[in-house]
């Protein structure tokens, strides 16, 4: 059948059903992809939060304990050496031995293992803060071992036999639960301690400080270098083959796998320049290399976006090139540059691979004080904990991820707020 005798309108209307169908289909594809993305995000967040929220509470046992000066061998409270070295752990063990009356060596060992190794330090801290407590009975919330912590938080009430605790231990625990002495409290340890082999004593303060110092080094280096490079390339550099090569290489660098920067840092900063390994300094240097392309590319885009009429106006008044750039172009380009920088910093915040190469994966207990102290960073801490067999480290892994996500969200929000605040397109 030929439809040559149909009018254009009739032909168009005949094709409308097909066109509408394809438009609807396309919209559905789009909605499906968005939904899929949202679903993945919900699953990811749900999984992390359901595993991680318990990391923010810690099981403690309220105990009345007599600080026996004779047992601690402290004769005068002014003797700091004695205060530091006294056997506080023994005191705690002794207290529970007399309290719970374990029968035999095996039960005694089981009893002791329920109290965290940190309990002794808790007592020491109390005494160092107030030496008049010696010889008195104090009430203190002693931190429990991670096995007890996990049992109380997860298995208590629905015993499925998965716990590593023995019959005797469960008996003591039940009596403590009954008396109400065993309870959970907010896990401040998680935020004030460095890393530890004992999950109940492990915290993210070291990693957070390390992250902060590393990012500080990264920012202080990459922002000025990146902005200067972007300004030079965009405004001053002659357009010739050499600058073209530089430009292509900057774009290439942005796509280089991050672990390569780690190898580079290892070879150059550590081996040639002798920067000490595992420090925020060398970490910051490596992350600077990694974030520079991002900052330069976004900086150049921001400079390009400044209308040429503004440049012409300034040049036409007799402003020099530099005055034009610093008085007019830069203030208008700054919001875009800052956004790029913060996105680059957020990338650096989550980076793990290059830092493994330069030794930031080392087990570091102390909280770093300065950029040349050995330290680790949050993502590497997460990586380390996720590898640990203890159940309590699993929830701490998720807890640390939550903290990291929190920082990322804060940084990205800051980027948006800064851009809005600084944008001066009246």
């Amino acid at each position: 059948m030929t439809n040559s005798n149909l009018t254009t309108r009739q032909k168009v209307e005949a094709s409308m059903a097909r066109r509408r169908a394809s438009e609807t289909r396309f919209r559905l594809y789009g909605m499906a992809s968005v939904l899929f993305g949202m679903l993945c995000l919900v699953v990811l967040f749900g999984d992390i939060f359901s595993k991680g929220y318990s990391a923010f509470s810690q099981t403690v046992l309220t105990t009345e304990i007599y600080l026996d000066a004779d047992y601690l061998e402290i004769s005068t409270t002014s003797d700091e050496q004695a205060l530091m070295n006294a056997n506080y752990e023994g005191l705690v063990k002794n207290h529970f031995k007399t309290e719970m009356q374990p029968s035999g060596r095996k039960e005694r060992r089981q009893l002791y293992s329920m109290i965290s190794a940190g309990a002794g330090w808790q007592i020491q801290k109390e005494i160092l803060a107030d030496t008049s407590l010696i010889g008195q009975t104090i009430t203190i919330d002693l931190i429990m071992d991670d096995d007890v912590d996990q049992w109380f938080k997860h298995d208590h009430g629905n015993d499925d036999g998965s716990t590593r605790l023995s019959e005797a231990q469960l008996g003591w625990l039940d009596s403590w639960v009954e008396s109400g002495d065993l309870h959970t409290r907010f896990n401040t340890t998680f935020f004030v301690n460095g890393d530890s082999r004992e999950p109940e004593l492990a915290g993210i303060r070291g990693a957070m400080t390390g992250t902060f110092l590393t990012l500080l080094v990264t920012f202080l280096l990459s922002f000025p270098i990146g902005v200067a490079a972007a300004i030079y390339l965009e405004e001053f550099a002659p357009k010739n083959r050499l600058t073209e090569i530089v430009e292509i290489n900057i774009n290439n660098l942005a796509a280089v796998p991050s672990i390569t920067f780690g190898l580079l840092g290892l070879a150059i900063f550590i081996n040639i320049f002798g920067v000490s390994r595992s420090t925020p300094l060398v970490g910051g240097l490596v992350l600077t290399l990694m974030t520079l392309p991002t900052i330069i590319i976004s900086g150049r885009a921001a400079i390009k976006a400044v209308p040429p009429s503004i440049r012409e106006a300034a040049l036409g008044l007799g402003a020099s090139k530099m005055q034009t750039v610093f008085h007019h172009v830069l203030p208008l380009a700054l919001p875009g540059m800052l956004t790029g920088t913060i996105i680059g910093m957020a990338q650096a915040l989550g980076e793990t691979a290059p830092l493994l190469m330069i030794g930031m994966i080392a087990f570091v207990v102390d909280v770093p004080g300065f950029i040349n102290d050995p330290s680790t960073v949050l993502p590497v801490q997460i990586f380390l904990w996720s590898d640990s067999p203890e159940r309590a480290f699993t929830e701490r892994t998720s807890g640390a991820i939550m903290v990291l996500l929190g920082f990322l969200i804060i940084m990205n929000t800051a980027a948006v707020v800064l851009r809005r605040r600084l944008e001066r397109r009246w």
């Binding site: 106006a313 008044l317 007799g318």
Partner: protein, 267 residues
């Protein structure tokens, strides 16, 4: 239509009291030549209108006069342009004092995203023309007055310049240019983005400014050229076809291309 071989500009391209004299100016954009051997004098305290169809090179020529073309990498200018006895294309010449002497007003109003006051004060500030705050205030007031904008903005000097209407913005740009107290003002179609009322105001202003400055104006409006200028130069495909007094160009043009253009047969 193509380039006329060995064309010599008709009329009177030269004058006795020249402020700017261009001699054999050629401009190339890469391989393409945009201006062919243009020689033209711009007299003291006169308004010269540069007219011609789109793409004829009149804006390019205007931008040669304060070396704004320097910002375009592929642009090459040959020949010489003499301002007060010195060739501005001499390699020793710095464009900063040149552009302070030869100011420019652009096609689209382009105030800085700053306050009205800061817009006008910017030039004097970077050139150090004011010794004190009072001095600067005076320059700003005088420039705005001369640009005929003072009455309208004196109560809101510290509100953004981009908040003004198009015509006011263009007068602000003129005020900004004369705040530096240049000797020559180049205007590149200053009214093309404005309505007739704003245009009339600017034309009036140009007439007043002539007393103090030398003005070269590029325009697409022949009525405007007739109204504001004393001499008119007609460009065609990069060549300067004819220069004469405005009266003569619009009544008895010498060259047939000029006649064709002003009678509206093309352009």
């Amino acid at each position: 239509m193509s380039i006329i071989e060995n064309h010599k500009t008709d009329g009177k391209p030269f004058c006795d009291s020249a402020k700017l004299s261009a001699r054999d100016v050629c401009v190339h954009y890469g391989e393409k030549q945009a201006i062919f051997d243009v020689s033209l004098d711009i007299g003291k305290n006169e308004v010269i209108a540069l007219i011609g169809p789109s793409g004829c090179g009149k804006s390019t020529f205007l931008r040669c006069l304060n070396r704004m073309n320097d910002t375009i990498d592929i642009c090459k200018v040959t020949g010489e342009i003499v301002l007060d006895g010195g060739n501005i294309y001499d390699p020793k010449v710095d464009v900063v004092p040149l552009r302070a002497t030869v100011g420019m007003v652009f096609q689209k109003p382009n105030p800085f995203p700053k306050t009205i006051y800061d817009n006008v004060a910017y030039g004097p500030r970077i050139h150090g023309l004011a010794t004190s705050r009072v001095d600067l205030d005076e320059i700003v007031e005088k420039s705005l007055q001369r640009a005929g904008l003072w009455a309208e903005v004196k109560d809101r000097l510290h509100s953004p310049g981009t908040g003004l209407s198009g015509g006011q913005q263009q007068r602000l740009c003129i005020a900004r240019t004369i705040a530096v107290d240049p000797e020559v003002i180049l205007m590149d179609e200053p009214c093309s983005a404005l309505d007739p009322i704003a245009t009339a105001k600017i034309e009036e202003l140009i007439d007043e400014l002539r007393e103090k400055y030398t003005i070269a104006i590029v325009t697409h409006s022949m009525q405007q050229a007739a109204r504001v200028s004393q001499r008119t130069a007609y460009f065609h495909l990069g060549q300067l076809i004819e220069v004469n007094s405005t009266d003569k160009v619009f009544t008895t043009p010498e060259h047939q291309l000029t006649e064709a253009y002003i009678t509206g047969r093309f352009g």
